[in-house]
Point group: C2
Chain length 373, copies 2
């Protein structure tokens, strides 16, 4: 069922436009996937996600395993029905979350033992277990369990983590082969920190195993921006061009444009949703802070040229009022706008690639950044 085709390639960059086919429908790439960690993209309904143009959302196996738990999701035969989202879902395995959220996590070759960040209960995530969880979730795209090191990390620590990641990837692949009809895809995750040779080693191991798609993990963990781009630039071409290439947890609108130029197809990031809840709104001109007193009696929408529900119906003054009054509607209206902005940006990037005008698009994009009208 899972399939990926590259439809257009940019002449002067590595940008490409593709089509992912999954059990729950098609996804045009490059694509931004809004983050719906706990079976909800914070503050949005599924209809609002669709209206904003989202075609795939991200869930998180670690979070959903802990809460509400697989026994609950099983009653709904998966996440789609549980959360009322009937388009594709990609689930992260939770490797990253175990290290960043859980208490007292302890890694062995077997897997990672940890205590829940919610109630302190003890759990063991193994490669086999994360596949089992993601099967229960009914994910269209599952991710392998990986060991993501902090930044900075020594060469030795990074090497050890990537070896474990490779070993776990092999076991994930076997569990996936033995327990699924392979209708849902399994992606490998490359680690290797900021060391190019280790990135190459990680990718070689993944290619040996063979996956439906490949992700680059361990970026945007605190490293300087130019290092992130350098590692991406080095790593992306080493992934097979016939497969989708996913950069995890990145980034700003500028990051997305640059990473598409370098050949990336898929992205997820909490930036549009989290920043919305902090009153930071993305526009073609840059970021607008809705708290700013200049918007006190501003009758304009966030972006007069934006076609999102929020911009078509509400003023900056109203959004500022809601935000300062801590009204729940504020977080939703801001999130609708930011998700629309991200999804629409990817859509425009894709159109430019298809039309052979991606370079012009990039120039125009950067030219617009500046003072908000």
């Amino acid at each position: 069922m899972f399939d990926f085709k590259v439809l257009y390639e940019s002449d002067d960059t590595r940008a490409r436009a593709g089509l992912l086919q999954t059990l729950h429908g098609a996804v045009e790439t490059p694509v931004f996937m809004p983050v719906g960690t706990l079976a909800t993209v914070k503050s949005l309904s599924p209809e609002e996600l669709s209206s904003a143009g989202a075609t795939i959302v991200l869930g998180n196996a670690y979070h959903l395993y802990l809460r509400p738990g697989c026994s609950v999701i099983n009653r709904f035969a998966g996440l789609h029905k549980f959360m009322n989202w009937h388009r594709p879902i990609l689930t992260d395995s939770g490797g990253f979350q175990v290290f960043s959220l859980a208490k007292l996590s302890r890694i062995t070759e077997k897997g990672v033992a940890f205590q829940s960040h919610i109630d302190g209960s003890s759990h063991l995530l193994t490669p086999e277990k994360v596949i089992e969880i993601q099967i229960c979730l009914g994910s269209d795209i599952m991710m392998c369990l990986d060991d993501c090191v902090q930044y900075p990390a020594s060469r030795d620590v990074t090497d050890e983590a990537l070896n474990l990641t490779s070993c776990w990837a092999q076991r994930c692949k076997e569990a996936w082969e033995n327990n699924t009809q392979k209708e849902n895809a399994l992606f490998g995750i490359a680690q290797g920190g900021m060391f190019k040779d280790l990135r190459e080693k990680s990718i070689d191991a993944l290619l040996e195993i063979g996956f439906s798609g490949y992700a680059i993990g361990g970026l945007s963990v605190g490293e300087p921006k130019d290092v992130m781009f350098e590692i991406s630039d080095f790593t992306l071409p080493k992934l097979p061009d016939t497969k989708p290439k996913y950069i995890m947890g990145v980034g700003t609108p500028e990051d997305l444009i640059e990473l598409v130029s370098l050949g990336a197809d898929m992205f997820d990031c909490v930036l549009p949703t989290r920043n919305a809840r902090n009153g930071q709104l993305f526009t073609p001109f840059g970021t607008l802070n809705i708290c700013n007193s200049r918007h006190r009696d501003d009758t304009d929408p966030i972006d007069p040229e934006c076609n999102c529900y929020t911009c078509r119906n509400y003023s900056r003054a109203y959004l500022r009022h809601l935000y300062l009054a801590k009204e729940l509607l504020a977080y939703r209206l801001n999130t609708i706008h930011n998700v629309y902005y991200y999804v629409n940006l990817m859509w425009n990037i894709r159109s430019a690639v298809c039309a052979g005008q991606f370079k012009d698009f990039k120039e125009a994009f950067y030219k617009k950044r500046g003072v908000i009208p």
Copy 2:
């Protein structure tokens, strides 16, 4: 422009079905008005309010005067455009809020001086000022400034407050006559606490002045339920039957049914919206607490017979999960259901009155209360 007609009357109770006509459209009565204190019914969009069947919402002059302030609302020529709600709006004057929220409020014949509960700034609300604010808000139905006493209150204190309320009502009427085209209605508010003769005195004073509609204030302030019903039963028939009768700040579903029986036409209350945010959901069977562990893997909607957006799309298990995870969507989905329940209850009451079957409706209503299936 403002008009009210009684269309049907119940034979065996004082229940009646009417039609309010305002500048922003018609409202069928008896009606429940969701509370939108700060230019938003907490967590809902205007479209969700409409879909839930709401035809009129309540705003609050005290709150909106303080935040965002009249200078902002003026830029939008009123509240309707500011909050994107184009149906009728009733605004409370803020008398009740000054006493319950403001710091150091001091009442004189002139008006009420107080410090803002937000920033401590000093303000003076006079009868003339509250009309000015409500004109700025573009309210379809404005309320007079009143002096609402606490419960319990002595006869002397209650009498003094009602005399001031009557005096302010006269000045509100004059300000309304001098400064509006009278397209928007002005309602008087009867006080008099739990003393029947004082209630009568208050009403006589209001009738002498003459208003487009009459409200009963100072109920549901902590008195026993039977006292609330006794005072309503005594007071409602003393209001002219040709005018809408509005009981402020009440109540539970049972309260609404009983007060309609006693002749009330209009209601507002934070109960459906506030309780929704506390996980308390109204159903024909009684109140369902979504946190209850029995709903952990419950695939049923809140009420299988309810047609609200929430019940048509989500399970109790999902709502419980969202609520326990403190996800913003929880508050919205719960509020949609509770507002729908209240609005639909009033709709069913009205249909029963129109069909001459209100008594049967009441019986059936009470019979259903019990164990949630």
